[in-house]
């Protein structure tokens, strides 16, 4: 006769297997994020609540600005760009691709949303790093890859790259930066130049059906140099 202790252990083992199997069946039954983005929407109010969660340092200013904020949101400009990459890229496999990106300018942030999909999952690394920086960590969230470069003084450069898929979006702070358009290896890119040493500079562009985003408090010239070293082979 099997002892009760062994019985319990065996039951626990089988239960762990069964719970795991049931749970992965459950997860597999959930449609993909791409499919769900076609079925559901998030309201602007909800989106703003989440942005507030992300930008904690501005939260304390929200109550007094809220009325003003809503009015300005209503007046936000939505720019729909249908970028025919064939006209701005030289790589043959990219030339045929048409990428749709919707850029919405709000009072405190700029939102990027994509409506075309890409299967590309290649992580393009920069060949140039500012002096003293090295790759410190790499993490994956969904299809999005984040590489963090650090120097000896713990300054960071964040490099986020993700294959573009319908519904993929992100927003960046535009309240503490000055926007201008630049070109990175012949491709149009958005530069958000930090207004102070404490703010981050961002460079955002799309290349080879991949969204690329560099962010740091280092000088924008260095960041541009790094961006230009990220090239499709």
């Amino acid at each position: 006769m099997i002892s009760k202790e062994i019985d319990n252990h065996l039951f626990e083992t089988l239960l762990k297997l069964a719970v795991t199997q049931d749970h992965y069946h459950e997860l597999a039954s959930i449609p993909s994020e791409d499919e769900l983005s076609g079925q559901y929407f998030v309201t602007p109010e909800f989106e703003r609540k989440i942005r507030r969660l992300i930008r904690k340092e501005k939260y304390s200013h929200i109550p007094k600005l809220v009325g003003q904020y809503i009015l300005k949101i209503a007046a936000g400009v939505a720019i729909i760009l249908a970028l025919t990459l064939g006209t701005i890229l030289t790589v043959p496999e990219v030339r045929a691709t048409v990428l749709n990106v919707i850029i919405e300018w709000f009072d405190t942030n700029t939102s990027y949303r994509f409506s075309e999909s890409s299967e590309t999952t290649v992580v393009l690394r920069p060949s140039y790093l500012p002096t003293g920086f090295h790759e410190s960590s790499i993490s994956q969230t969904g299809s999005m890859t984040t590489i963090i470069y650090k120097d000896i003084e713990d300054n960071s450069i964040y490099y986020i790259c993700a294959p573009i898929h319908a519904g993929y979006s992100f927003a960046i702070d535009n309240e503490h930066s000055d926007h201008s358009q630049i070109t990175i290896n012949g491709i149009k890119a958005d530069l958000y130049k930090a207004q102070t040493d404490q703010d981050s500079t961002h460079i955002i562009w799309q290349e080879n059906q991949t969204s690329l985003h560099l962010m740091s408090t280092i000088t924008y010239q260095e960041l541009i140099k790094m961006a230009e070293s990220i090239q499709i082979k």
Binding site: I2, T20, Q39, T43, F46, Y59, T141, Y168
Partner: protein, 185 residues
């Protein structure tokens, strides 16, 4: 309340991580909440509450694989949706004294039923039939290997309640296996 949770996003890296999680899985979370609440506004409330919980436990997400990230987000979203549903329906949690009474019931270990007669498949099927409040505790325990204390913190319930839910879930599963075994004979 909100600023308290916001203080957990204390580094640029964590802000990016949360932002990535949200951008990659917001519709999955919304879908999960909608399955329970069937109301878009309430589902958004559930996802918002889930986001607060994610921020509170953000360090956990740095260690998770893609599958486990999705799994944990679904579990948290489901739990927050159930909380809202309970409030909407005016349902209180199961009184503990009732639960504790049931814990005194004696039962035989149906291990033989589990090993024989495709018992394992019955067990998988029985888990799918469990009430979500029990199923999520089992998932956090056996899929994510969290301690009962960690589960309590993730689900905003007491440690005692976690212990009781685990016990009841196992009791329920064993009862089902025993019943099925009886029908087979």
């Amino acid at each position: 309340m909100l600023p308290l949770y916001l203080s957990f996003i204390d580094s640029e890296q964590e802000r990016i991580k949360f932002s990535q999680i949200y951008e990659q899985y917001r519709y999955t979370m919304l879908h999960t909440a909608m399955q329970i609440l069937k109301d878009h506004d309430l589902a958004e409330d559930a996802v918002h509450n889930a986001c607060l919980k994610i921020i509170e436990h953000l360090p956990k997400f740095f260690e998770l694989s893609r599958n486990k990230t999705k799994s944990l987000l679904v579990i948290i979203s489901k739990n927050k949706a159930i909380d809202i549903l309970r409030k909407e329906q005016g349902l209180a949690l199961t009184p503990l004294e009732n639960v504790e009474n049931s814990l005194n019931s004696d039962y035989e270990d149906p291990l033989e039923a589990l090993i024989s007669h495709d018992g394992y498949q019955r067990l998988v099927g029985s888990i799918a039939k469990l009430n979500d409040i029990y199923r999520t505790v089992l998932q956090l325990k056996y899929v994510h290997d969290y301690t009962n204390q960690e589960i309590a913190e993730l689900l905003d319930i007491s440690l005692n309640n976690v212990n009781i839910r685990l016990y009841r879930a196992k009791l329920f599963l064993k009862e089902i296996l025993k019943e099925d075994e009886g029908h087979d004979q």
